[in-house]
């Protein structure tokens, strides 16, 4: 156990951070008004770490973590957590992380930390259970295939990232998932699940020395594994603007998505791009909402950066998406959007618009931190993505300093003078490959 560091999150939540000798990072976030705790374990592996024939393996593996270990029979994990009073037991796989989470009465934390430490190194990957779980995973892929928005999203990501692994769907491809072997799972487990690949967060009301001791006892004896592999190299800059269209037989209106390359979460100009998103679409009085929704062109219009919404390690995208009204062609909205961006790049951002954007960001920031789990996800997610658990808080502080001129310059440099990708989904029969 290395010496703990103390800091404060949002001037409201004292945080203790410590690192075990085997590399496990732990954050204890004290919420003085809470009688319960959230327990979250992030592994520094997501779909972006998969090899060419492994698309979907990180997600499938997440499912297998709920089955058997050397000590527990299939079903014991869920049963013990339920008996402990755990609620919201679940997990998610993203591009750069896989996270396991549950809410618990503080007195029951030991039972679940013990289970979590056990499955970090003692998972049993029996062929029978892999086969049974394969059906559920294929069912999940099939469920997404029935959603028109998923097909649009997959097309956008494939076109936006020519080589970077963000281009692949997190759940992978049906054919590959059907072909994963027992050895694929064993290899993935050895390569990515170890204490030095984990960040654990406990948030809520707890006795800090006891929880520190619990984490040291539960994880301290586990051997470290392979180091986190370096992230895939970002794609080079786009050379020219491109357009892609797809059709879906189940939609009756069009959807427009426009994307530009953005510089990454820790880049110094990211705050200006974040604020640009709020200037454009933060609220009903925002210019994008007025030009698209209130003009009767669309039902929804928003602008945001992918790396902030998904806590990405690698550079992402500035995204602008518009759901059109029935019978309105996407090109009509596209004209409005481009005219708006050109006008703002030329004339600048009014002080009132910046004030609205910043206050909307403040409001949603505070409103998003209402539970122990949201605190844990904020700190743990940024610790994995940037190495700094307080990154979100620092980002908010940085947003307060961004000037209208910085937003205008970011708009010019990253949007109006840069190549863009336009993806349009229209009603109709899809083209067969």
């Amino acid at each position: 156990l290395q010496p703990a560091q103390s800091f404060n999150f949002m001037n409201a939540y004292p945080v203790r951070h410590f690192r075990l000798e085997n590399g496990l990072e732990a954050y204890l976030v004290h919420n003085p008004i809470s009688p319960v705790v959230a327990f979250l374990t992030h592994y520094t592996v997501g779909s972006a770490a998969e090899g060419e024939n492994e698309r979907g393996l990180a997600h499938f593996f997440e499912h297998m973590m709920f089955r058997e270990t050397e000590r527990l029979r299939d079903g014991d994990f869920d049963r013990i957590v339920a008996e402990a009073g755990g609620v919201g037991l679940n997990a998610f796989t993203s591009y750069d992380t896989t996270a396991y989470h549950v809410n618990l009465p503080a007195a029951q934390l030991e039972r679940v930390v013990t289970l979590e430490a056990d499955r970090m190194v003692n998972l049993r990957l029996s062929p029978e259970l892999i086969e049974a779980e394969r059906g559920a995973v294929l069912g999940e892929i099939a469920m997404y295939q029935d959603m028109p928005s998923e097909q649009l999203w997959n097309t956008l990501m494939r076109e936006a990232f020519p080589t970077h692994p963000y281009r692949h769907p997190i759940v992978g491809y049906r054919e590959q998932v059907q072909a994963f072997t027992d050895e694929d799972f064993a290899r993935f487990y050895r390569a990515h699940y170890a204490p030095n690949r984990a960040v654990v967060v406990v948030a809520g009301g707890f006795d800090e020395p006891a929880v520190r001791d619990l984490i040291a006892r539960s994880y301290g004896g586990l051997a470290p594994g392979a180091a986190r592999p370096p992230s895939a190299a970002p794609d080079g800059p786009w050379e020219e603007s491109r357009r892609v269209e797809l059709r879906h037989e189940k939609v009756s209106s069009e959807t427009l998505m426009m994307a530009w390359r953005s510089p990454g979460l820790i880049h110094p100009r990211l705050p200006a791009l974040l604020l640009l998103g709020a200037v454009l679409s933060g609220g009903q009085s925002s210019p994008l909402h007025r030009r698209i929704v209130l003009k009767g062109l669309g039902t929804h219009a928003s602008a945001f950066t992918l790396e902030s919404s998904m806590m990405l390690v690698s550079p992402g995208l500035v995204l602008l998406d518009v759901a059109l009204q029935h019978g309105v062609p996407a090109e009509r909205a596209e004209e409005e959007v481009l005219a708006l961006l050109e006008a703002l790049a030329r004339e600048g951002i009014a002080g009132e618009e910046l004030e609205r954007a910043l206050n909307q960001v403040r409001l949603h920031w505070h409103a998003s931190l209402g539970t122990n789990m949201s605190l844990a996800r904020q700190l743990g997610g940024y610790a994995v993505a940037t190495g700094d658990p307080l990154f979100g808080q620092r980002l908010l502080a940085r947003l307060e300093q961004v000037s209208a001129q910085e937003v205008q310059e970011a708009l010019r440099d990253y949007l109006t003078t840069a190549p863009r990708l336009t993806v349009i989904q229209r009603p109709g029969e899809p083209e067969t490959p």
Partner: protein, 435 residues
């Protein structure tokens, strides 16, 4: 006006919810389903003579939002604001409540927007389509199964005059109250809020509450409705029959039943349908009275849900029915009961672990007279339950012989599945009504 308050010192925010009991989507006139939804959305588009743009510009620059909530039996207006701006935000909320513009041009724009949104949401979600048909089959025609966002034809037929009349119909019902969560102390909230937000007029509009004498329609036999959607990768499967509401004296037994049968990853449905057979990504069950759409205290359906991959539906549909039949016929094991009791006892703190949840309990008490047991009473009640108690309740209030079954997918595959199900009195294939 009554004000319910909870303190939340951790966030510099004030959430204020103005709630209108018994003023929900059930008050939509026939042929105007969706009118309440339209009216509430139009409230946010300008008030007190301020245009939509001026009103929302002023509100949003403060760091505030106004939204609304609508379910079958009540509606609400919600203000969320950075607390330092509460006074200015309240003035705008008061304008919304008392002086809405209901501008015809804004109405026309909103009508088109909501109709497009209504279509898109159902094109994206097969579950929404299946659930809409399922509730209509259960509750029958009339206002009880009315969904909050209405029907396409109802939205289309509505006029701005209808909206004005609906404003009167919903906001003139007596008993409106405020629920507030704030980092300010109670006295400061009361001084600011009650002074600025006068109670709306409380003359009853004369329409009887349809829930007062509600009796669930009595179906005989099983009925299958296949909603045609030929090209899907997964099918939607919803089945259920009327059971109880939260006012039932045995509600704690029903919480156990729901948890054991389909409430978590260790439940029968999840373990068998997903874990053992791999038929579907998910399988679960719930009481409609706990789902939030209908009055919590009234009888509502008990629903089982799964969405098997199409190649598994022929086995998954009869499997779910047989699991349900076995539950009602033989009840639960001592081991299952012990697990569920322990789970509900130990998870009791999560009923009250945040100020927002405490406020939601207060609102439920005000709306429905429902009071959640304290920890010790909850423990005593649950620990006293025996398997025979569960079986008694199952056999008295669950009716697998009267199931409404809705299957959404390719009729060519689903019709033979329906034909092979036992006890089916009527089966029909329909196009989704919104198509």
């Amino acid at each position: 006006m009554k004000l319910i308050y909870r303190h939340n010192p951790a966030q510099p925010l004030t959430h204020l919810n103005l709630i209108f009991p018994r003023a929900g989507a059930w008050l939509d006139p026939s042929q105007r389903q969706g009118l309440s939804h339209l009216m509430l959305r139009l409230l946010g588009r300008g008030a007190g003579g301020l245009s939509n743009e001026a009103f929302n510009g002023r509100l949003e620059r403060l760091g505030a939002t106004i939204s609304f909530g609508l379910v079958n039996d009540h509606c609400s207006l919600r203000l969320t604001t950075l607390t330092p701006q509460l006074d200015a935000a309240l003035e705008l909320l008061a304008l919304t409540v008392h002086q809405p513009n209901f501008d015809p041009a804004e109405f026309a724009g909103l009508q088109g927007e909501l109709m497009s949104r209504w279509r898109s949401e159902r094109e994206e979600s097969k579950y929404l389509r299946a659930q809409e048909v399922f509730l209509k089959r259960l509750y029958g025609e009339g206002p009880h199964g009315q969904q909050a966002d209405g029907l396409l034809e109802g939205l289309q037929a509505s006029t701005v005059e209808d909206v004005r009349a609906q404003y009167q119909a919903l906001f003139s019902r007596p008993g409106a109250f405020l629920a507030v969560l704030s980092d300010l102390p109670r006295a400061a909230v009361e001084a600011r809020v009650l002074g600025r937000l006068q109670p709306p007029a409380t003359a009853d509009n004369g329409r009887p509450d349809p829930w007062r004498d509600f009796a669930p329609p009595r179906a005989s036999g099983r009925r299958v409705t296949i909603v045609a959607d030929p090209r899907t990768q997964t099918d939607e499967v919803l089945l259920g029959a009327f059971s109880v509401g939260q006012a039932d004296p045995d509600w704690h037994l029903h919480r156990l039943i729901s948890l054991i049968f389909g409430g978590d990853m260790n439940s029968r449905l999840f373990r068998v349908v997903r874990g053992e057979r791999g038929f579907s990504y998910g399988a679960s069950c719930w009481y409609e009275a706990a789902a939030g759409r209908m009055p919590h205290n009234r009888e509502g359906p008990f629903t089982c849900y799964t969405f098997p991959s199409v190649e598994h539906s022929a086995e998954a549909v009869p499997l779910v029915i047989s699991l349900y039949e076995a539950l009602v016929e033989r009840g639960v094991s001592e081991e299952e009961l012990e697990r569920a009791r322990t789970s509900l006892v130990n998870s009791h703190p999560f009923m009250r672990d945040t100020p927002a949840k405490l406020l939601a309990l207060d609102v439920d008490a005000e709306l429905y007279g429902l009071v959640v047991d304290e920890e010790e009473a909850n423990r005593e009640k649950l620990m006293a339950v025996r398997p025979e108690d569960v079986l008694r309740v199952l056999q008295a209030s669950h009716h697998p012989d009267r199931l409404q079954i809705v299957l959404l997918g390719d009729p060519a595959r689903l019709e033979p599945i329906a034909a092979a199900l036992p006890g089916v009195e009527k089966s029909e294939t329909i196009r989704y009504p919104g198509e």
